[in-house]
């Protein structure tokens, strides 16, 4: 700092700064690296494979990994490489869709609840409190179990998950807006005649963005998790090569008993990578949003 007056300070470029930050925030860096790897796998995969081979009766059955089928094939004659590429894409689609809708619902309800207060706040808060102890997955089991399994699509799966997964975000946003509402910059804006909408979108929203980003990652994580559990229970769209579905059908056919080890192990590893990267990114964002736990270089 003292040198600054003596010599010209060379400001590093934004990219260099971002790269240097990832050196300090290792969990964010590793999480993003895994995520990029997964995206690359899926993107390149779609160029190499034929998505048709992700469905039954399109390849020789029960083949161990080989040059022709790098990840092997399963009992039903699916090429598992194709299945993994398509399954990864579908998992991402469900996660982003359910996570996105859930975040929007949570943010809107949290805002309404905290900003307007009164009986609306009481209702929203009470509903959240009552729904929280109910194991969400079990209610999703009821919803998914009721539907005709032949009709369940990826989109429907995302909707099933959204129905009961907005409470966490609602409560987080509610508490943040409650504290922000009392800050001085909001009071100043109010005194200078800014309307409700102006205060919400110009004053509070920008300050809330890091929290919303973190909430979104949590929502995506939970959506991927929930869709995986439902699929492992055999409640997903059974035709689709969702990662959970692959494990479900492998267990149903006794894959380990019959020596087809590659069949359940590949979706399991993919799932570890997906959930692991999301968990690491979430930890990293926590560090970004909460300077108190930030580390020095």
């Amino acid at each position: 700092m003292a040198d600054a007056t003596m010599t010209e300070v060379v400001r590093p470029s934004r990219l260099a700064l971002a790269l240097r930050y990832t050196k300090r925030n290792k969990s964010l860096a590793v999480g993003l690296a895994i995520l990029f790897f997964l995206i690359a796998f899926t993107a390149i995969g779609f160029m190499v494979i034929d998505p048709k081979h992700a469905y039954p009766l399109t390849a020789a059955a029960k083949k161990a990994p080989s040059l022709k089928y790098p990840l092997g094939t399963d009992f039903f004659g699916r090429d598992l490489l194709a299945a993994m590429v398509v399954g990864m894409w579908q998992t991402a689609a469900i996660g982003l869709l359910a996570g996105g809708i859930g975040t929007v619902i949570g943010v809107v309800l949290g805002f309404i609840s905290a900003y307007f207060g009164g009986w609306i706040d009481t209702i929203i808060k009470t509903v959240c409190q009552i729904l929280t102890p109910i194991p969400v997955l079990l209610i999703q089991v009821v919803v998914a179990g009721t539907l005709d399994k032949r009709d369940v699509t990826i989109f429907m799966m995302a909707l099933i998950i959204v129905v009961l997964s907005w409470m966490g975000t609602t409560l987080v946003v509610r508490s943040q807006v409650l504290t922000m509402k009392e800050r001085q910059f909001v009071a100043v804006a109010k005194l200078s005649g800014v309307g409700s909408m102006g205060i919400i979108f110009k004053e509070i929203m920008p300050n809330l963005l890091p929290f919303i980003a973190a909430a979104f990652v949590v929502q995506v994580f939970q959506a991927v998790f929930a869709s995986f559990y439902l699929a492992v229970l055999g409640l997903g769209p059974l035709r689709e090569p969702l990662l959970g579905n692959i494990i479900w059908s492998a267990q149903g056919q006794g894959a380990f008993f019959n020596g087809w080890w590659w069949w359940p192990i590949e979706p399991a590893i993919a799932m570890v990578l997906i959930l692991g990267s999301l968990a690491l990114i979430n930890m990293g964002l926590d560090e970004l949003a909460n300077p108190r736990v930030r580390k020095s270089e």
Partner: protein, 331 residues
Amino acid sequence: MLRLVIRRLLFLALVIWSASTIVFFIPRMSETNAIRERFAELARTGGFSPTDLEKIIESYTKQFGLDRPLWDQYQDYIVSIFKLDFGFSLNRYPMTVTDVIMQAIPWTLSLLLVTTIISFLIGNLLGALSAWPKAPGWVRAFATPFVLLTGVPPVIMGVLLLFFLGFRMKLLPLGGSYSIGVVPDGSWTFMLDVLKHQVLPALSLILGSVGGWVLSMRGMGITIQGEDYVNFAEHKGLGAGAIFRDYYLRNTLLPQATALALALGTVVTSAIVVEGLFGLPGIGQALNNAIRSNDFPVIYGIVLFITGAVATLMVLMEFVYPLLDPRIRNE
């Protein structure tokens, strides 16, 4: 105190009522008819004529009271839920849903209790030690791999363990509740065999959840280190063991117990899915079989039973807090 008890009980009733109402209305909003679905499947495999099928469906609809007004059905339903009466299983008729649950619950309960206690104890101890500057280096190194496991759900841990310990090294059985060929007679060899089949599911549940405890406990341990009372205790010349036990662990007991109560729902659902994966005869398999055979009363019964149990446990935990924390007791 009495007012608090009444308020919590009312809250509990409200939770169970909401869950029951959701479970009552969702299936009735959808187009699919549970009974038709079930018997259409039987007809495909068993092969009886379509007219017989219609008759059977009609008589069952009457039997289950599905032809009465919705409001009447709802009233009877809510009353029966609080009496723990979930009706009959379609697949295993004349067994009631309660019978099915009662048959499965000892397995699930023992697995859950053992794994939750072990992972809670190991996780908290490791977490506390890893945040403690005086702990030996190898203990801290030991905690890191567990933290990396936080993102891995128990089911996936189960698949990975099945592969390494069961399939590759052939140390443990690949699934089921006991080996084929062993007579289930309550002898020592049989008991040992059953126990051996429980090791992998238990291990996947423990490894899948221990990281979470390590992580939260470590965070708390680091905060406590900076507190004045810890500093004071050190200067007072208290031994390292006493500080660790009475200052570290004692102060983290309440938040960690709260976290356990909040995690109950996840813990139970994980156990159910893991049971299904390993084919253990618990609630998980009952649910799996019910889903595979469209046995709707069993699905709904299990969901309501678990919801009620989790909510009840959460409320009970709240009454344990005063025992853990004298500050709450005095209020």
